[in-house]
Each structure stands twice: as C-alpha cells, then as structure tokens.
C-alpha cells in the first residue's frame, strides 16, 4: 500500500514538471514585474492597436478580395502571380482609397503595378497616412 502511494505521488510530480511555460514572443521584451507594469494609458493604446487591423493585414484582405485568393496565398508573391491586368490594378487602387479615405495623395491606379507585393503596397499606404 505504501509503495502504491509513493508511485502515485511521483506520477503527480511528473505531471507538474511537464506543465508548459508560455514562451516569450521572439524579440519581445522580458515581462516586467508588477511594480514596473506599464501605465493604464499605455495599455489602452496597446489594446486599441490590436483591436484595429494593421495596414498590412488590411492590405492582405484587399488583395485577397481583388484576386479571390486566400490571404495566405497572396502574402508574399507579386501581383503578377495572379491575373494582373489594368482591371486588377484599378480595382486594388479603388479598394485602397475606400479603406483609407485619409490617404493623401490618394492611390492612383497607375501607381499599382504588377511587380508589387503586399509589402510594397503597405509601404505606399504607410507613407501617405497623415
């Protein structure tokens, strides 16, 4: 009986040891101690940032909708990997201007080129946001 009990406790210990520790995201700063936690204002800004889609993720959605491919497919290759004609360039430019009406100057269809990728178009939008 005593032996059995011992076994049980060792099994319990093993289970506890296996408990996974949540790893830090690569590049993220080390977690601060409670006394060093960021202020409420900082937290609010961070939460707001996550609630709103980033420019890149919105751009992925736009190109996926314009080409009717998945966002995973359109992440990386240039537009020329899809049927890239003047119609597609015009459609993407119109969708960009609708998504970011504050863009200045607004995106022109002639500026959207088949050699561009999601990252190129994200850079264009980022540079024109006020």
């Amino acid at each position: 009986m005593v032996k059995k009990k011992k076994k049980r406790s060792s099994a319990k210990k093993k289970k506890t040891a296996r408990k996974s520790v949540r790893r830090r995201a690569p590049g993220a700063a080390r977690k601060r101690s409670p006394s060093q936690q960021p202020s409420l204002a900082r937290l609010a800004v961070a939460l707001h940032a996550r609630a709103v889609a980033t420019v890149r993720s919105a751009m992925l959605e736009i190109i996926a909708a314009a080409t009717r491919h998945s966002t995973a497919d359109v992440d990386g290759p240039p537009l020329s990997d899809w049927i890239c004609d003047a119609g597609l360039c015009n459609d993407i430019a119109a969708k960009i201007n609708r998504e970011w009406p504050e863009l200045d100057p607004e995106c022109k269809a002639a500026e959207v080129k088949c050699s561009q990728t999601v990252d190129d178009l994200t850079a264009v939008v980022n540079s024109r946001l006020a």
Partner: protein, 500 residues
Amino acid sequence: VRRLLPLTLLALAVATELGAQTSSDFAVVRYANRRGLIVRLMKHTLPDALVGTPLSTKRFVLLDRDHQRIVALDSVTDASPSASCPAPSARQASADRLCIPLAAGAPALVDSTTYALVLDSIPVQSTKPQYIGANQTLVVEPVAGHVKATTGGGVTVVEVMYDVDLTPDTSVTMEVLFGARRAEWHCRPVPGVPPCYRRGSLSFVYDVTKTPYYPGDKISARFTPGSSGQVPPGKISTASIAPDTTLRDTTVFVQGGFTQTNSGRAASVQARWQHWPIPGAIWDVPPHYASVLSPYVNALWTTDTTKSGYLNLGVQYTGYVSDLGSPLEQLILAVTPRTESDQKVTVSNFMYLDGEVSPKFQWLFGSIPFARGSYLILPHGGIQLGRTFEGQSVDRPETNDPSRWTGGVSGKVHFPAAKGRPWYCSFFGCAGVDLNVDWQHYWLNHVPEHTRTTNWNWTTVSAQYKFTRHLGLSASLNNGNAPPLFIYQRLIQVGLAFVD
C-alpha cells in the same frame, strides 16, 4: 559597455554595411529632440502580436563613429505614439517602425555626426522572411534630405525625406522643382504638422500630377526661404527619373508564324501594341472611376504575294468603374476609334465608334484549386459604327458604312511560375503559363439583299509559355469570319510574344 565595445567593433568590421538612407529595407530618422532614432521598416511590418508592445533593445548597439564611443540606448523601444515617436495615424498602430530612445544619461545626437546602429533580428509579419536585420549595421549619416519620385503615367508624387523628424516644426515649407521650374503641388492640410508632412513616412509628400514632367528633368526640393528658423543643416539630394519600365498590362505583341487559309499558306508577322497609357492622358474620378488613353496599333506583314498586309491605327480610351461590390465587381468600358482592313486591304473602314462594355462579376473570377492558378471570365458586348473609305464596290456580306452589334465572352487562365524552380526552369526560364479564349459574335445591321445571314463568329484561342515576365512562346488559332470581309479563315500562328 566595455565588454560590448570590442565585440561591436568586430561586428562593424565584419558585417556588411548598409547605408541607412539607401537600403531598401530600412530608413533611419532621428527624433525631433535628438533623443533617439526611428527605424522605419520600409517593406515590412511588425507581427500583429507585437504591435504596440515594447521590444527589447538590449542587443542593439549605437556607435558614435566620429568619436569611437557607444551611445547608450534605453532597454526597450517606445511603442506608444508620442511627440518623439509619431504614429502614422490615430486609427492605425505604428507597425512599420521601431522607436529606439537613448538612455536617460546619454548625450543627445548631433546632426553632423555619423553613427552606426547594429541591429538584432527583428520579427516581421510575413512568412518569408520571418526576421530582418540580423547582423546588419545601418550607417546613420549626418542629417540631410533625399528626394524620391513615384511614377505612374508621369511623375505623380514627390517625396522629400529628411533624416530628422520635422513633425513639431509646423512653419517649415518646401518648394519642389522640375529642372528649374517650380512644380505645382497640393496636399490635404493636417493639423499639427508642417504643410504636406506625413507622420506615416516622416517626410513631405507632394501630389504633383498637375505639373508636366519632361524627360531629363532633375527633381529637387528646397526649404522655402524664411519659412522657419529651425531648418536643419544638410544638403537635399535630387532625383532623376528612369524611363517608366513598369507599365501595367501593356501589350507589345509580336508574333511570327505560319498561316493557312482556304487559298494557301504563307509566313507572316503580326504586331499589336495596346494598353500603353499615354503619359498625362490619365483621368481619375475618385473613388470609383479611372480612365486612360492609349494608342492602338495592329499590323500584319506577310510573304503571301496575294496579300499586302495591313496597318490599322487608332486610339483606345478605357474606363474602369471599380470596387462596385457584389455581385458586379467592376465595369470596363472601351472606346476605340480605329481603322479596320482585311489582309489584302480590299476593304478599309474607319470605325469612328467601337464601344464595348465588359462586366466583371464576382463569381466569374477566382482561384483554381491547383498550381496556384487563377481564372477570369469576362462577357463583353458593344456596338461598332464606321465609314467605308476603301473598297466600296467590293461584294461582301455587309454593306458600306458598317453598323454592327457585338457580343461574346473571353476567358483567361493563368498559372504562375512553379515554386521551387524545377529542373527545366534553369534551361528555359519560368514565368508562368497563360491560356486565353475569346469568342466574338457579330450581328450585322445592314446587309446586301442577297445575303442569307446577319450573324458571324470569330474565335481566338491562344496559349503562352512565358520564359520571363516579358517574353514568351505563343501559339494561337483564329477561326471564323472576321470583319470587314467576313470570309471564313483559319489562322495558326506560332511565335514569340513580348508582353509587359
């Protein structure tokens, strides 16, 4: 710091130096108060999970190269928008930049001093690459300005980037010059920043579409004299524009091959030049309408002595009504006044109105579930009206001065280059495969009395293997009764196609 210095110097000696202002991946801008650096990720963004999260800078090193000393950095990046680290938009988090403040006791940056910033790997929101910046050293040159121009049917946008954040100095204004001419620019006023300054790019962004650009013009910028007492030192470099080689959808199509008709066989060369937007001839009515004017050239040279070949010329106005929603995604309108001739030029018409509408429906384009393929089906219909100026007495199934309704469907399938470059790519090159089908039906409104039918069809099937993005091997089959003679013909052509 003492332990790090030799390592840093070694790293600086070994690592490939990237000019911060010339690298396409990064741009470094000093804080307005010179108490830090903003590293802009020009082609990447931080992963969504890290946006708004302070990142550790413990493995970043800033070296004052002129005085050979390390400048201490704060332990984490400044992730929240602030006066020293402006965010692109109040609505969007700054995912495209790292704001690295100096440590509290560190001396402020000096505009005329060169620094070197050693980066550690920075995670980015893409599958390839997943990290950038590892083992890279950015040279932070003395403060200066850089002019960049964006093209698209002419020069559309001029950007002047200064190596220091000028957001707080709202009185600074600039002039943009095309050669010696002062460019007319406009931009939407934004409160709290200098005119045309953008927090997104930390640069001046000018819309210069109203000013014509002439090839060879140097594009330069200068601070308006007396605009501010705070103008930083440093020269502003000029930009010159390379010829626009990235025109979209331009068809420069040269195809030579074998032709078989009812009467015989011959070699021929056909050339088409379409969809080349004439610089300056672009009209947009935002947000949904954009249009361009382009030349239309369709020429045939043939060895067949019974034919003379033809040269049909015109202009094409194309309008795009885009982002209409569901189910009609887009409407494409094309008006092409042009000449129209047969291969012997026995009959020539001037088609003063060749108008066509193509609706792009949401369920008629999309992805093919293999080889990353895409398809597009475009129905089209329109009207053709013309004047016959050659061969008015030639007997044919249509009277002079044609009037026709047109309708049909075109289909396109595209497969991009295979991933992983198979063995044959090193021999032939790989840039994808295109398959096209176009069926056009003509309803003739005016026909001679003896003619039995008013309906004719013309079908084109073509396939193209692209060696590079611009050069491909093309094979095509034309079958049916084409205007202006509507004589049955079958043309098989094989040749090289140049497409941009």
